[in-house]
Symmetry: C2
């Protein structure tokens, strides 16, 4: 399992591109991404659990019902959500994409991200599609990754290489953050591709299973978006024997998928709106996996802890507090807490009570850009990890006037 470059185009037979079509006012910012497989691919997707759903999700769900897709069209700058004509526009996006690519409209995945409740017009998209399709290429991952960004400050691309039955396969993807991130059954927009051959039912199973430990353990601000979607296309062009059961190859595939999704989680969390730090909460010693997950997510979601981390303040009482209200049944008198970064590790709480520690060393550790909050429940051997970021002035600034 090796990290490679190429992002969403690392797998064989996937082209991508991105263009500025005019949905955004800023002409230097790409706002329309296109991703295409040379051949129809097995496809699976998961969506937000928010009852308010972006119109593109409804259309995508329909198109992907047969387990096959070949292209993804995605705009940023407008979520196409809470619009009376939303479905109609999403269908038009799909139809026009199919037309320009010469594929079936029912094989197109449609996605949108941006402001909720503002009309999305088809004209700029229609006008830009021919040029976008013409410029698609096998090194197009950076362009597509950029075109799906909203308040993201960096594009997010990850890929790995692995072997199935002697055949070299690749799995990669792109993601966008960076606000309204508290995925539930899916995340913001994540598009994954692989050239491994895998049955679409197993592909769905792999995605579903992986996400509960990756994107569903990620939170920037506690707000579950209306447009979350994670989608994977597997075009089989690596030539491996098609995975049709939960065998050893499936396990390797799951590992590849997890490697990519965990990296994407870290990239999304570290680039959370206004974030200066990536936070990882590692919970160990849990009686049950679900307890570890509940505790990790509660800690990572605490506004108070997030603000303390921004200030590099080793306020471990807020970790205990967030564990206490998480809803998980834990023995608070057994809990140990430590903070870890590239600068070292410092223990701050033992058996649920404070211990003497050097505030100076703690500060030095917490001034780093990647902070691990280590919680040991000392009650079993199950573990979990959750990802988030600090709460900063810039989060408030970005969201105080997002629409203008």
């Amino acid at each position: 399992m090796q990290l490679i470059s190429g992002g969403v185009c690392a797998a064989k037979g996937f082209k991508a591109g991105g263009i500025h079509c005019g949905i955004r006012k800023n002409r230097t910012k790409k706002d329309l991404a296109l991703l295409v497989s040379d051949v129809p691919a097995s496809a699976a997707a998961l969506y937000t659990t928010n009852l308010v759903k972006g119109a593109p999700l409804t259309v995508t769900k329909e198109h992907i019902a047969d387990g096959i897709a070949q292209a993804v069209i995605c705009n940023s700058g407008n979520a196409n959500t809470c619009n009376a004509d939303g479905i109609e526009i999403a269908e038009k996006m799909s139809d026009l994409t199919a037309e320009v690519l010469g594929i079936k409209a029912s094989d197109v995945v449609v996605a949108s991200t941006g402001v909720i409740g503002q009309p999305l017009y088809i004209d700029p998209i229609a006008a830009a599609l021919p040029a976008l399709a013409k410029n698609l290429n096998y090194e197009g991952s950076p362009d597509a990754a950029e075109a799906i960004m909203t308040t993201d400050t960096i594009d997010k691309q990850v890929a790995v290489e692995f072997t199935l039955g002697g055949k070299v396969c690749r799995l990669g993807g792109i993601a966008k953050g960076s606000g309204m991130i508290h995925p539930n059954m899916a995340t913001m927009l994540v598009f994954l591709t692989t050239d491994a051959a895998i049955d679409s039912k197993l592909l769905h199973k792999a995605l579903h299973s992986d996400i509960s430990d990756t994107f569903n353990m990620l939170s920037i601000d506690g707000d579950t978006s209306t447009n979350d979607m994670v989608c994977i296309l597997a075009n089989g062009m690596a030539g491996n024997e098609k995975i049709t059961e939960e065998n050893e190859d499936f396990a390797v595939f799951m590992k590849a998928l997890n490697t990519v999704t965990v990296q994407l989680c870290k990239l999304v969390a570290g680039d959370g709106e206004g974030a200066t730090k990536l936070l990882e909460c590692l919970v160990s010693g849990a009686k049950e996996k679900q307890i570890a997950k509940t505790v990790a997510k509660s800690v990572i979601c605490s506004s108070l802890l997030k603000a303390a981390m921004f200030g590099a303040d080793a306020n471990w009482g807020r970790v205990l507090c967030a564990i206490g209200y998480s809803g998980a049944q834990v023995d608070v008198n057994k809990i140990d807490v430590a903070f870890r970064s590239a600068k070292g590790t410092i223990e701050v709480c033992k058996d649920g009570a404070g211990i003497d520690f050097s505030e100076e060393i703690a500060k030095e550790i917490l001034l780093e850009k990647e902070i691990e909050i280590l919680v040991n429940l000392n009650d079993g051997d199950k573990e979990a990890c959750a990802w988030g970021c600090d709460l900063t002035y810039d989060y408030v600034k970005i969201n105080g006037d997002y629409r203008t």
Copy 2:
């Protein structure tokens, strides 16, 4: 039902006081409050549901089990939580208070608020108690209200006068905010007093019932504190016929209680850490009361909406988004949203979709200090209200380095 002055001392026979004893470094800030009834009173209290509980809560729970209390001792600056000797210290606080007042230790309610996980020393409290007891007086509400403040910028006192069987009664209270506020079965520290005579079981019932619509509908930052407590003492000195059943008098009492608690909620929310605005989310047209409550609380808790309100940005899509992920079963296509303030009302969403509105007028309305977010689910006749505040730079500033 008339609002009167006097706060927690408005009711007959209640003295209070506050003093700087030295728990806080800032000598101009009072940090120890004492409240005493001339006679033993019926008492009821509710506590945080956080599994990590302040030691004072354990002691108070024990003392109040018989439904009787006569005094409240409360320090700020230190939560006495996650300390190995916490219970011992809380018991000493209670013993010393009883001694100086000449009452039973088992009739003392103990509370602490402030930093979690730092040792609380009894010495400064012991040294200050005699002077504090000596200076207790029937106009002492402001001193006590000040002494329980942490990051609060204003003290919080409310009282009402009402009549039970021809007898004039009073009910008042003090509260503190202003961070780690997301009460669950209780709130931060709220001390209520009344001179109405009421059986302690009914007092508990009244408090329990009231709180589900008041303090439990309040959120500053989504963090449920370890030290939440709301406590009420009823000393019967108004001379009304003791309330021992759910009769008309009980209904009047409930109304008086609700008037005070709603006002305290607004005071706490409006003075949330860093807040520049009080937010009220009024949900109407719900099929069930619980749906209205879930929706109201989800809206008021959304970091994104809170930041938008800080920026006076009519980003109603975030209201819809927060309704959608609230978990309440609603028909999103029926939802209307409007914003209201002293400057007027503006409708921004009808039937779940955006409508044309003047951004200029919306801005003018949202620049006010008290904003109502009006949500009509158009699906029934049940209502609920939740209180919160905007998310600002100062929230981050206050919590980036709270301990120093």
